[in-house]
Amino acid sequence: MISSQAARREPSGHPALEAQNLSVSFGGLNALQGFSFQLGYQQIGGLIGPNGAGKTTCFNLLTNLYQPTEGNIKLFGHEIKGAPSYHLFRWGLGRTFQNIRLFHRMTVLENVLVTQPNSSFFRTNHQHRKEALDLLDFFHLADQAEKKAGSLPYGAQRRLEIARALAGNPGVLLLDEPAAGMNPSETSQLAEQIKEIRNRFQVSILLIEHDMHLVMGVCDYLWVLNFGHQIAQGTPMEIQRNPAVIEAYLGRKERSEC
């Protein structure tokens, strides 16, 4: 299917990631209902909505951890619905998790080495280690490369998870609440870093986030979910003015929060 790395790097006329009419229900509850979106080439998209709106469910459908009851998913124009998660990663769809899922008993460096696509079956060589260390350096983790991942502080673990996904050289990166548990200064650093990631690694990014400063400051385009339905979409400016969003999501009189 998607074979060459180059295909992901050049705009091909297709959106980086698109979903049509994505739906899933668990035991009668419609966790996601007819959600469609198109994430453009090197765009940063945001998926927002109150708790239980179906955001993480959407990520799990995109990475095939859950199977959608309906709908199509395309990565760079190729249909990927039903392909196993590990294939999706190799085809260029990397992700992080809401509740951090690092390989906690492995070292920071090993966490990155393990996802490198071109390292062979055999011992990881010098070149791979250098690439991995460069990547860790970008995330200010290089000096902790030999520590166990589980021993890192919370913020560093979140950054390592992004680094791990990027080591796979993805075309699209899904970030599930990357700023959760971070303090305000860490969060604003992260905002800068997300933009840098887009430019340096030439990836399209779709992120779920509750921190509105981060979302409004970073995203080019937003989709708003509530109870599994999309209630709005648009640029951050449009979303901030959208009365349906203000009512359903931000609360009636608390506009100042955004």
Binding site: T63, L65, P84, S85, Y86, L88, F89, R90, G94, R95, F97, R101, L102, F103, H104, R105, M106, E110, N111, L113, V114, T115, P117, S119, S120, F121, F122, R123, T124, H126, R129, R164, A165, G168
Partner: protein
């Protein structure tokens, strides 16, 4: 820098194993080592191989097997039957390596067969299937027509020599360490730490688990062949549930993190019961008590003594 250090370490390790071999070999040749200690070298070597092979599965992949002895049994019988049939046909220096291959291959094949459906199961269910597998092997071996039944398979040529055993143990240690830091070892450990993240990070979890299972089984098969070609007689009871547990204890007490620690643990746990022989009937009692105390002690968060804390604060 790192690169050079690794080469140096490899060289030093090789030199050390060679010197150790020369030392042990000459000690045995000169008769300075008593017959009793000499005979201990075989169970020590076998247990090291078994523990290291199980370490791949339990320590690196994080899956529990309670039927490891089953694969050893298969290897022992396959290799033993092969050598018995070929004893007049092929000279020993080809026959024995071939027997090792046969034992490893047959064990690997059965592991592959078992692994195709089994990795749909998780956690304790895999443990129970391997347990059941071990019991099936034991029960079949007693009842099949060509295994000598309960009386045992006799007359296997005594091909396992000290040097052969030594170098296979060395090879197993090297292999385990190599796998640990190779890409596939990284992938196994990633699966152990978080299977869902591993899958989402491009690792085909089920297929990697199968590989680990097959490698583990084939090494156990090799240990089985070495066993059968040392003792020359095989009975199914040797490879029962207790044997699987014994090896598992070695692996767990080895700490589940390093190949060397696993080998050391296997070494000490094999000779410990021999050292405790003077305790007679209380031997296994002490062993089990020590096992419980070690497990509890290792998993307890000891509070630092008061004087220690105070001193730190003063400093």
């Amino acid at each position: 820098m790192n690169h050079l250090w690794r080469k140096k370490k490899f060289f030093l390790g090789g030199l050390f194993t060679l010197l150790l071999f020369v030392l042990m070999h000459s000690l045995i040749q000169s008769g300075l080592v008593s017959r009793h200690i000499q005979s201990l070298s075989v169970p020590v070597g076998l247990n090291m191989i078994l523990a290291l092979s199980l370490f791949l599965l339990v320590g690196m992949l994080g899956e529990l097997s309670l039927g490891h002895a089953g694969f050893m049994s298969i290897g022992a019988y396959a290799g033993g039957l092969f050598s018995k049939a070929m004893v007049q046909v092929i000279p020993v220096w080809i026959r024995f390596p071939l027997a090792l291959c046969v034992g490893a291959l047959v064990a690997a094949l059965l592991a592959l067969l078992l692994s195709v459906p089994v990795f749909r199961l998780k956690g304790d269910y895999l443990a129970i299937v391997t347990l059941a597998f071990g019991e099936i092997v034991r029960s079949l071996v007693i009842n099949l027509p060509f295994t000598g039944g309960a009386a045992g398979l006799k007359g296997i040529p005594k091909d396992t020599s000290f040097s052969f055993l030594y170098w296979i143990v060395v090879f197993t240690i090297w292999l385990t360490m190599w796998i640990y830091s190779s890409k596939i070892g990284l992938e196994w450990r990633a699966i152990r730490d978080n299977a869902i993240a591993a899958e989402a990070c491009g690792i085909p979890v089920v297929s990697r688990k199968r590989t680990a299972f097959v490698v583990t089984a084939s090494l156990a098969g090799v240990a089985g062949v070495l066993y059968s070609h040392h003792y020359s007689i095989l009975t199914a009871e040797v490879f029962g549930f207790n044997r699987s547990i014994e090896v598992l204890v070695m692996v767990v007490l080895g700490g589940l993190e390093s190949a060397i620690a696993t080998a050391v643990s296997a070494f000490f746990l094999t000779i410990a019961p021999e050292m405790l022989r003077f305790l007679n009937q209380y031997r296994m009692l002490i062993y089990s008590l020590v096992l419980i105390i070690v497990m509890i002690g290792r998993n307890t968060q000891w509070e630092k003594p008061k004087w220690f804390q105070q001193r730190r604060e003063n400093a």
